[in-house]
């Protein structure tokens, strides 16, 4: 090999390396832009929550004298919009937990009878679920409100739970039917030969084997109920029946807008779902790639 070609190869390699660094640098700049875009509203929220009431109206872009006073106020319920805060926090937990439980119960029963017991015309149920899935929930809000007063469930947490379960079950059924395909039918058949009833198969075979999907869908339903606003705002009207999301939006009604308390409340409200989401991300991702999607 001649010296000349060796040098040419070296410079070629160097150029290639330089190009790689350049691309990496461009990607990093792009990543930084993306980071700023994603974090901007979150930063704004934290900035205001750590400020005093006066500092909110000063146009600061860095926290001056950051303090946790707003969070202490929330802890002691020391503002008139926050008088029932922890009770409302409990309401949100109750509604979320019930939604999660009922969604799992109803959706597993439905997917069990359609895909394991092979219920005749079971596809009608799947289609009903699919149709509910693609109807925007907010479009049903007004008739739903009227119907809840017909059912005598005005200002009752169960009306919200009913609404949340209605909008969570379709996705749940969708996921369960897909996930259930990975469980061999032979298991059911051999259990059947050993004399197991459908109920026993449901509890002892179907539910245990579905547990990863149950975790994903249970979390999904919990977060759906916790994060929802419109239905909770419509259906719950008194301070002691409200959930956190409704209480939070109430701040916007007042003219003096204590934005620091409001943003602190927003952070306290946002932390549990964020924690749950990141903790169960693995399961959620598995569920998502397996089944469908829901915004």
């Amino acid at each position: 090999m001649s010296v000349g070609s060796n040098i040419a190869m070296n410079s070629e390699r160097r150029r290639h390396k330089r190009l790689k660094y350049l691309i990496e640098a461009i990607a990093m700049v792009f990543g930084l832009v993306l980071l700023v875009w994603s974090m901007l509203p979150v930063y704004n929220m934290v900035l205001i929550a750590l400020s005093d009431h006066g500092a909110v109206f000063s146009g600061n872009i860095y926290p001056h004298d950051p303090n946790l006073n707003s969070f202490v106020i929330i802890l002691h319920q020391g503002f008139w919009y926050l008088e029932h805060f922890w009770h409302q926090f409990g309401n949100s937990i109750f509604i979320g937990a019930m939604t999660s439980f009922l969604t799992l119960a109803i959706a597993t029963m439905t997917s069990f009878t359609v895909s394991r017991l092979k219920l005749r015309h079971g596809w009608l149920l799947s289609n009903a679920a699919l149709m509910t899935y693609v109807i925007p929930a907010s479009f049903l809000a007004i008739p739903f409100y009227r119907i809840m007063s017909i059912y005598g469930l005005g200002n009752n947490p169960w009306s919200v739970i009913a609404a949340m379960v209605t909008f969570a079950t379709p996705y749940a059924i969708f996921i369960f039917q897909h996930y259930g395909k990975s469980i061999p039918m032979e298991l059911d058949e051999s259990a059947r030969i050993d004399g197991a009833t459908p109920v026993q198969i449901y509890f002892k075979i179907y539910l245990p084997l579905m547990s990863p999907a149950l975790v994903a869908v249970g979390t999904y339903a919990l977060l759906l109920a916790w994060n929802e606003y419109l239905y909770q705002f419509m259906l719950l009207s008194t301070p002691d029946s409200m959930t956190v999301s409704v209480a939070l939006a109430q701040f916007l009604n007042s003219d003096e807008s204590p934005w620091n308390y409001m943003m602190a409340t927003a952070i306290v409200y946002a932390l549990p779902p964020i924690a749950i989401y990141y903790a169960s991300r693995r399961y959620m991702a598995a569920g998502l790639t397996m089944g469908g999607v829901k915004g």
Partner: protein
């Protein structure tokens, strides 16, 4: 034991009991799709909760909605209401731009997040935060961030560049832009993750083979990634269109529909008619006018979601 008793009592082939059982079973077969009676009863029992839920909370509200919005006079009233016409136009802009921009960027970003470096993995975790957090706090924060006088955005513009920023939420165009940006901010991470999963499902052998054949990155993208992702992209876009049609939170909390109801969309104006003006019939009618757009979408989506059992 006599032969008769044996014939009656045993289930030997050809015995009386055997024959009646066979007959009974074949009857049941016809009736219940091959299941013995008790199993059929169980199958029905398992279906009852969802059937009740569906009838009570989906079918009944839908029928009630048609009953509420059934009066043709309501639609004449809507047609003459300038707020409604604005909202209709806004909805088309909001959905058309919001969904398509979001999907296109999410698709490209999913390629970006395929990079195997430590910092893209870290970035992905933070990038998902908008999706992981509830909509309400984020949109409220944006509402204040966009405040013309005290908002963070204009403070930054003033401190760093000495520019007096505009009053974003006092202007229809800027207000709509803010709403659309908020919508994209909230929903883009989710679809990026969906597309990322879709890209990861493409066998690497395809890329390796193309690289060996000397195909350029652009050609690989054009001839492998795009065709294999097309179906997922289409279904996702349609689904997202339907969801964004019903999106209430972004508009309600970021611009609040203002100034002077000029940035309302169908989902918010319906609620506005029903609860602020106290005319639920008009509200339902406004929502029902989305049906010519919604029904074809729903039919198409149901067909696609059912037929191909999407791997989303």
């Amino acid at each position: 034991m006599s032969t008769t008793q044996q014939a009656l009592g045993s289930k030997a082939p050809g015995s009386f009991i055997h024959r009646t059982e066979r007959l009974w079973q074949s009857r049941m077969h016809v009736l219940h799709g091959g299941m013995p009676l008790s199993d059929y009863a169980w199958a029905i029992a398992f279906a009852i909760p969802y059937v009740c839920l569906f009838l009570a909370f989906v079918i009944y509200p839908i029928c009630y909605g048609f009953f509420l919005g059934g009066d043709p006079a309501l639609y004449a009233e809507l047609a003459t209401d300038p707020h409604y016409v604005t909202a209709m136009i806004n909805t088309i802009i909001y959905v058309g731009i919001g969904v398509n921009v979001k999907m296109a960027i999410a698709f490209l970003l999913s390629g970006f997040f395929m990079r195997k470096s430590w910092w893209t993995k870290g970035l992905l975790v933070l990038y998902i935060l908008p999706w992981a957090m509830p909509a309400l706090p984020a949109f409220m924060s944006m509402h204040w961030m966009l405040n013309g006088q005290w908002g963070f955005l204009n403070s930054v513009l003033y401190e760093w560049f000495h520019i007096e920023g505009p009053y974003y939420l006092n202007d229809r165009t800027l207000g709509m832009t803010s709403n659309i940006c908020a919508y994209i901010w909230k929903n883009m991470p989710f679809w990026t993750v969906i597309f990322l999963a879709g890209r990861m499902a493409i066998p690497t052998e395809l890329y390796e083979a193309a690289a060996i054949d000397g195909a350029s990155k652009l050609r690989i993208f054009r001839h492998i990634t795009v065709p294999l992702m097309a179906q997922l992209y289409l279904v996702s876009t349609l689904l997202s269109t339907v969801f964004s049609l019903g999106d209430f939170n972004a508009v309600f909390f970021v611009s609040g529909g203002g100034p002077a109801m000029s940035t309302e969309v169908l989902a918010t104006i319906g609620i506005r008619y029903a609860f602020d003006i106290g005319d639920p019939r008009l509200g339902v009618a406004a929502v029902l006018t989305s049906l010519p757009l919604l029904i074809p979408l729903v039919v198409l989506l149901m067909h696609m979601l059912r037929k191909q059992e999407v791997q989303l």
